[in-house]
Each structure stands twice: as C-alpha cells, then as structure tokens.
C-alpha cells in the first residue's frame, strides 16, 4: 500500500511537468492544444534512442526538450500562419507525431532497463551517502513494513519540477510573459500594445510542449522504456491534473495555480493507483477511470455551488417568512 502510493507520488511529480505544459496552453494561452499526446512520446523517443546509442542521458534529455519545443512551435505555426483552428492544429500534429515518433524509435518499443539514465548518478550518489536511511527509519518507526527502494528519485524529480515551476512563475510575470498571458486573455488589446500575438502563440505552445517532452523523457527513463503508445490519452491526464489541482488548491495567484497543478498531477496518480487496487478493475480501465475523474472534477464544484446557492435562498426565504410572522 505505502509503496504503491509512494510510486504514484513519484511518477505524479514527473507527470506534473506535463501538466504544467497543459496549464500553459489551456489556461494561460487559452489554446486547447492536443499536440501533447504526440510530444510526450517524442520526448520519450528522442531520449530513449539517444541513450541507447550511447549519448549521455543529460544530452538526450535536453535534446528531447528541444524536440518537444519544435513540435509545439509547428502546432503554433499551423494555427497562426495556416489559420487552422487550434484543436485541429493540435490533432494534426498529434497524428503526424505518431509516425514521426515511430521513425525516431525505429520500432514501437525501446527498453532502457540496463541503460544508465539521468537518475542513475543521482541514485548512486544518494545511496553512497546513505541518505535514504533516515527515511527508511521513519517509515519503520511509523510501523509500515515495506519501504521504497530509494528516496533519491522522488527528491530529484521534485527538484526538477519545482525549478520548472519557479521558472514558469517568473516568466509569466516578465514583460514577454505578461504579453503571453494577455494573448490568452484579450488578443485585440495586446495587439494594440504592439505585441506580435502570432509569435507569442507559437513560442507559448512551443514552451508548453517542451515541458511535456521533458516529462516524457523522464518518464521513459524512470519507467525503463519508451513506447509509441505511451502518450495516448496524455492530454486528458494533463487536463485532469489541471482541473483537479485548481479545484482543490485554488487559483489565487500564478504561483498558487502552478503549485495546484503539480498537486493535481500527484493526486491524479494516487487516485488511479488506488483504483487499480480495486479487484475488478484492470489496467485497461485506466482511461475510463481518467474520464470519470475529469467529469467528476468538472461537475462536482458546480453541483456544490448550486447546492450552496439553493440553501442560501431557502434561508433568505425563511427569514422573510419569520419576519412576516411577527
């Protein structure tokens, strides 16, 4: 039980990078970008192929990010210069990437189990310093029997995700960042203040998919394989993370919202891992579970609001009735 939740949190933190990318397109740019399903795999594919071919995992990961950025820029170009509707631009790119990813990989699955990854040096350094020991001790003290193998990955992933979060927070408050947000909020206005909204959209969708590809590259290295089908439904998972996070943790400021998105990604993973522990549910049911979670996250806040409003009105009516009774 603990180990499976631990694993969920661990991968949730890595998937959070993808969710941050989705946040940038869907929320900041107001651009429903479906490239994600493809660019996630592109990140994984590029990283896996390069690692298998003997490149350093760091170079491989950085190249994967660049590939994601380019894929996003192409989607942005299709929309701004080709005047194709945002949804369609993303779908076209997603489909195109499916073939491109297969070409990159040369086969539909690349195992990475015996390769060294970006995590390898971190884990070995961590373990040589015996840093997991105190955590194992705490776990044992709490009376939980099984302890995860290493705590290195979760901390390393957390640091990367937090760095990306803080960079995003900062960027969205810079002059360019403000213009990017205004592009999603009021295009006509920001154009009248000399911002090139086309370029902003292209770069914005590019950055978003760079984050998605980073997530894909890390998931592949963490999970030990890249697979052509690993991106299916990724956009919905990203959206689920954004929506759950926003609903649970609020959107008061940008820093708060990006934190909420990360929280949402982790919670999504936990919910899925719990659901999979239920006996009659199978791995194949994951997508259905995801869809149900998203619907629930979308509908519940509205139902709650409606309930609250109803109770408020009832109370008001009662007040008036008692006043009249006097």
């Amino acid at each position: 039980m603990f180990v499976s939740i631990f694993g969920a949190v661990e991968s949730g933190i890595i998937y959070a990078l993808m969710a941050l990318g989705v946040y940038i397109t869907f929320r900041v740019l107001d651009f429903p970008d479906l490239t994600v399903d493809g660019s996630f795999v592109t990140g994984a594919a590029v990283a896996a192929v390069m690692i298998v071919n003997g490149q350093s995992p760091l170079t491989a990961t950085i190249t994967a990010v660049a590939a994601g950025f380019i894929a996003g820029c192409v989607t942005g170009l299709l929309h701004t210069k080709g005047k194709i509707n945002p949804l369609l631009s993303g779908i076209l790119m997603m489909i195109a990437l499916y073939s491109i990813n297969l070409r990159i990989m040369g086969q539909s699955n690349i195992p990475l189990l015996n390769e060294s990854t970006v995590f390898t040096p971190v884990v070995s350094l961590w373990e040589s310093l015996n840093l997991s020991a105190p955590f194992h001790a705490i776990i044992a003290w709490l009376g939980i029997e099984s302890s995860p193998r290493t705590w290195a990955v979760i901390f390393f992933a957390l640091i990367i995700t937090l760095i990306i979060k803080f960079v995003t927070d900062y960027f969205l408050k810079t002059e360019v960042g403000l213009a990017l947000r205004a592009t999603g909020d009021n295009k006509k206005m920001i154009r009248s203040f000399s911002a090139n909204t086309d370029i902003l959209i292209i770069v914005g969708v590019g950055i978003s998919n760079a984050f998605v590809a980073l997530s894909g590259a890390l998931i592949a290295q963490h999970g030990g394989f890249a697979d052509a089908g690993m991106g299916i439904g990724m956009i919905i998972i990203g959206l689920a993370s954004v929506i759950i996070g926003e609903a649970l943790f609020g959107t008061k400021s940008i820093a708060r919202t990006t934190l909420a998105v990360i929280g949402g990604a982790i919670i999504y993973r936990i919910v899925v891992s719990m659901a999979l522990r239920v006996d009659f549910l199978e791995t194949g049911d994951m997508k259905l579970i995801t869809a149900i979670i998203v619907v629930a996250a979308l509908v519940t806040p509205k139902l709650l609001d409606a309930q609250r409003e109803k109770r408020r009105r009832l109370r008001k009516r009662k007040e008036i009735a008692t006043m009249a009774g006097k």
């Binding site: 002059e175 360019v176 403000l178 213009a179 947000r181 909020d185 009021n186 206005m189």
Partner: protein, 264 residues
C-alpha cells in the same frame, strides 16, 4: 503628423453585399491636432480608424505617420506609434490580469519586451502617479483584477493605458458610448485633460454632436465613406448643432435620418 492619401476600401467587392466603406479619403493632421469625427451609422468612421491602426488594409491609398510610410506595417508594428481606445470597455484591457499588469503591458507599447519583470518598484510608483490623475482611487487597487472594475473605471484605465506612453496618434472610437451619462462625461473630461497634457494628435469618433463641438480644434463629418465637411479653428468654434444639421442637409440635399438618434 498623420497623412491619409486617397484611401479607398470596399467590402465584399463584386457581391450583393458590396459596400464602399471609404471612398478617396484624404486627410492631413498636424502635430497636436485634435479632430472629432461625426457621421451617421455606417458612414465609415470605424473603418477609417481601423485603416489608420492597421487592423484593416485599404484597397488603395496610403497612411503616413510622422513621415513614415506605415501602410504595409501590421497592426502590432504600427501600434508602436498609435494608442487606441475602443467603444467596448471590455476590449481595451485584459480582464483576468491586475491593474498594474495591464499598465505594465501598456508601458511596453513603444519598447522592446524582454525577460525582466513587467512590474517593479519604480514602475509601480509611476503607475500610481498616473492613476491618481484619474481621481477614481484606482491607485490603491494596483493588484485588483481589471475584470472587477466597472465599465467606466475600465474605460478610464484603457484611456490612461493608451496615452501615458505618449503615442504619436491617439484613436478614440466612440469610447464613451457604452457608459451612462455621468460616467461618459467623466471620461470625456479625462480625455480632454490627457490630450491637452501630452499634446496628443487625436482622432475621436462620437455620435454626440455637442461633444464633437466642445472638444478639439477640428471637426469632420463623414457620410457614405466620404468626408463631406471639414471645419477648423475659428470656424469650428462658431459651429452649433443646428448649423451642422443645416450643413449636412445642404450638402446631401436630404433630411438626415432620424436627427434625434444622432443628437442622442
């Protein structure tokens, strides 16, 4: 300062809906001129503004600002030189962003946007000083979302955003039309103050004839895509609403469609 040479623009040419929105329009404005533009619905006033701002390309003719050919510059490039306030109070600001962030974006209009924070201490002080001139108390609400402001407040903010970086040309298209009379008057007063303070070359479209007479040093009347009346200085001072209407009838030889609506 601003030169329009032989501007023509036809919408849907060769179809049933063909509409000659602008026909051979010539206009020259000097530095600091304040032009008011009147004319009935569909006369081509907004089209003229859009041609100047670059949101529409004319079929023929060219636009020159400060001796610079801008006819083929895109809207975002031209807006380095042009400040704009739209009729819709929602149009000129980004609602989900704060007052200071909106001002920061406006501040960057004639500069290169970089990766420095858009809002800093120095700019905050500057924004506050400018907001104080509006007398709406907005200087105390720098971090409030603009979407929470009333229409009048938003329009005042839009006006400030369009002007405090002193654009070469200021375009106002019925920017008080969506407001209640007292708010409209407030915005009109602020407009007069700001234009005077920065000596901005201004074009203001209005359906309020009194406003068109009270403000500015020059007035044009448009009809069917043409400038049919152009008065300046002393001559404009002497104008009254009656004289304007007479003039219109005289030129067009027809009774102006529902005078009352126009007088509004």
């Amino acid at each position: 300062m601003l030169e329009l040479n032989h501007i023509s623009l036809t919408f849907n040419e060769g179809t049933m809906d063909e509409k000659k929105a602008l026909q051979h329009v010539d206009l020259q404005l000097g530095h600091g001129d304040f032009l008011t533009v009147i004319g009935s619905n569909g006369a081509g006033k907004s089209t003229l503004m859009n041609v100047i701002s670059g949101s529409l390309l004319p079929d023929t003719g060219d636009v020159v600002i400060d001796d610079k050919q801008v006819t083929h510059l895109q809207e975002y490039q031209r807006s380095q030189l042009i400040g704009r306030v739209f009729q819709d109070p929602m149009a000129g600001t980004a609602p989900s962003m704060t007052i200071e962030e909106n001002l920061a974006m406006a501040f960057a209009r004639n500069k290169k946007r970089g990766l420095k924070p858009g809002v800093n201490k120095k700019r905050k002080t500057l924004f506050k000083e400018h907001l104080e001139t509006l007398n709406l108390g907005l200087e105390d609400r720098l971090t409030a979302k603009v979407g929470l402001l009333s229409g009048g407040e938003r329009q005042a903010l839009s006006l400030l955003m369009a002007t405090f970086t002193e654009p070469n040309i200021l375009l106002l298209d019925e920017h008080t039309a969506a407001l209640d009379p007292s708010r409209a008057e407030l915005i009109t007063d602020i407009t007069a103050d700001i234009v005077d303070k920065f000596q901005l070359t201004t074009l203001m479209v209005t359906h309020n004839m009194q406003q068109a007479l009270d403000l500015g040093n020059r007035l044009i009347m448009m009809d069917k895509g043409q400038i049919i009346l152009d008065v300046e200085g002393q001559e404009k001072e002497a104008l009254t609403i009656e004289k304007l209407l007479d003039e219109f009838q005289h030129i067009r030889g027809e009774k102006m469609a529902n005078d009352k609506a126009v007088l509004g």
